[in-house]
Subunit: 342 residues, 2 copies
């Protein structure tokens, strides 16, 4: 659906004015804002046209126009260009992401935090998924007479640990036996191949040892599950309650939505690669019908690993926000890369 240049200009002006003012914008205000040399009546004709085509909406007869979801969509797709963030802002983001960043998890929780602080909205990041990773190493640490910790290190650099308890007394000899046998069995195996059936076949190969091993294997399975599962950081969801752009009930529903990690992970999993903007009902969740979601992905070693997202009101400064999300995501990605590669 193409729009004439003048219509584009007017639509852009309506959206941007509305984004900043929050009130329906009328024909008069648009004269100066667009710089067009026409009367208010002409603008009104164009506005009526845009409304007929579904880009704008009148809240009530005697009010100005407000963008519809379709209007925002057109604006986001055609009318904005990447803004360049100030150097100050960039280095602020960098610093915040770096502080105390000893592991990917920390980097990503920092990322969510700084985005939510800067935008005043809610930010979500997912830790790298281990879905394509393999077992790099398994280690065991004795933690008590009957307790042990299994440490799983994956090829994509995630470290997951799981305590477990066994009937017998754990001795250093036993543990180094675990270590040897299990590393032989597991190193290099893709995580997604490790399931109950696989464990059973491994267990069987141990012969009479396998009785000892049941608890150990279970602990490993659990760590593998942990490593496959993306964990989710949500930061600043409370912010939404304080935004004037939301009515309180709308924000409340968004929080409800975000508090269920099931929802969040399916929302973000739709995003294969690159940046996307979901506007209102496009996401498919009625709780988000008054919200927009900006999602982008980050990569580790040329492979999409996780997502960085921002959730906020439909009435938002898309231009800046998209740039910020992308910048933060890229930087986090770079940092994780450095952490793991070397």
């Amino acid at each position: 659906m193409e729009l004439r240049e003048r219509k584009q200009k007017i639509l852009k002006a309506v959206v941007e004015n509305y984004i900043h003012s929050g009130v329906a914008v009328g024909s008069k205000a648009l004269i100066e804002q667009t710089g067009l040399n026409v009367s208010s009546a002409t603008i009104r004709n164009e506005l009526a046209d845009l409304e007929r085509n579904g880009y704008l909406l009148q809240p009530h007869t005697s009010a100005g126009r407000v963008p519809t979801q379709k209007g925002y969509r057109y604006y986001v797709d055609n009318l904005i260009k990447g803004s360049n963030l100030s150097d100050r802002l960039k280095s602020h983001i960098e610093n915040a992401i770096e502080t105390g960043a000893d592991a990917p998890e920390r980097i990503l929780s920092n990322t969510a935090q700084v985005l939510s602080k800067l935008t005043g909205m809610a930010s979500i990041t997912t830790t790298p998924s281990g879905i394509n990773a393999r077992v790099h190493k398994i280690r065991f640490v004795i933690t008590g007479r009957h307790t042990c910790m299994a440490v799983l290190i994956t090829s994509n650099g995630m470290v997951k640990s799981r305590l477990f308890r066994v009937e017998f007394v754990v001795t250093p000899e036993l543990v180094s036996m675990f270590d040897k046998v299990l590393n032989e069995a597991f190193v290099g195996v893709p995580l997604k191949d490790i399931d109950r059936a696989f464990l059973q076949s491994v267990g069987a190969s141990f012969g009479e040892l396998s009785l000892f091993m049941a608890d150990v294997l279970f602990a490993i399975l659990d760590s593998v599950k942990q490593a496959m599962q993306q964990s989710i950081n949500i930061s600043g969801s409370t912010n939404l309650l304080f935004l004037s752009e939301y009515d309180m009930l709308g924000a409340r529903d968004v929080l409800k939505f975000l508090s269920d990690s099931e929802n969040v992970s399916t929302l973000l999993s739709e995003n294969i690669k690159g940046t996307k903007v979901f506007l209102g009902k496009e996401s498919g969740y009625y709780e988000l019908s008054g919200s927009m979601v900006i999602t982008t992905t980050y990569e580790i070693g040329n492979q999409t690993a996780g997502a960085v997202a921002l959730v906020g009101p439909l009435r938002a400064d898309y231009q800046t926000l998209i740039s910020m999300v992308e910048y933060a995501s890229d930087y986090a990605s770079k940092l994780i890369g450095e952490l793991l590669e070397v």
Copy 2:
């Protein structure tokens, strides 16, 4: 401040009626509710008396009475007795706390979750503090060419790990050297004694090795910090937004308050031992002036280790809620005990 029996009866009826109905309660309704064989005028006299003494309040002249903070206080301190929870409820709580409970952290996050689900309010638990613990063991795991994981096991059963990176290439020999030297230096040392100064003295004793050790020591310091710090689970804070007892702005402030872990940890740290109920402003935070907080502590090996708390509106069924919090806390405590002792 003692109250005559009839006044007590009336106060109790007002509180309980108000808790359930949410509207100011008038003299007529109290006749049947108290079972007192008096007229409404008599009740009115008593009500006026209770109001003069600060237990009740009239929202406006032509309305019934509502409990004040002082009224709730008297009710909680003198007018309720521990209710016995149904067996069904008890076993529900037990099951929920047990599932997947491989570590204290998990038990406590389960505890927060089940309490928030059952009450529809927000629940907080803190993981055991390592403030009185000692180093039980330190282990190292090679995770990459230049990266390592330090695993700290404390005397109170907490396991904290920290990745770190070093300039040189980590070899098994180096790591077993770390292991040996550092365990000699650290095992049995109280966590709270481990600070920069301590590390420096340890480092110095290594002589020329100490150059190698800087990063390692730093990683240990960080794990120790982690182990000393209670981490906080908050579950169900979004619930508060859906409670009719709150006006939305009140709930919003509570959420804001809860989202700052600084606030939460000082709130809970006031509680040395046993159950306490903070009503409204008693907590000292204006954000909680419309809320009540029930806190109790759990113990590990006869030592207070952490807190279990519930945050909700002032208008709440204290009798049941207190019982639930205490029951859940006791059960979690028992479970952690079992997990660690054996």
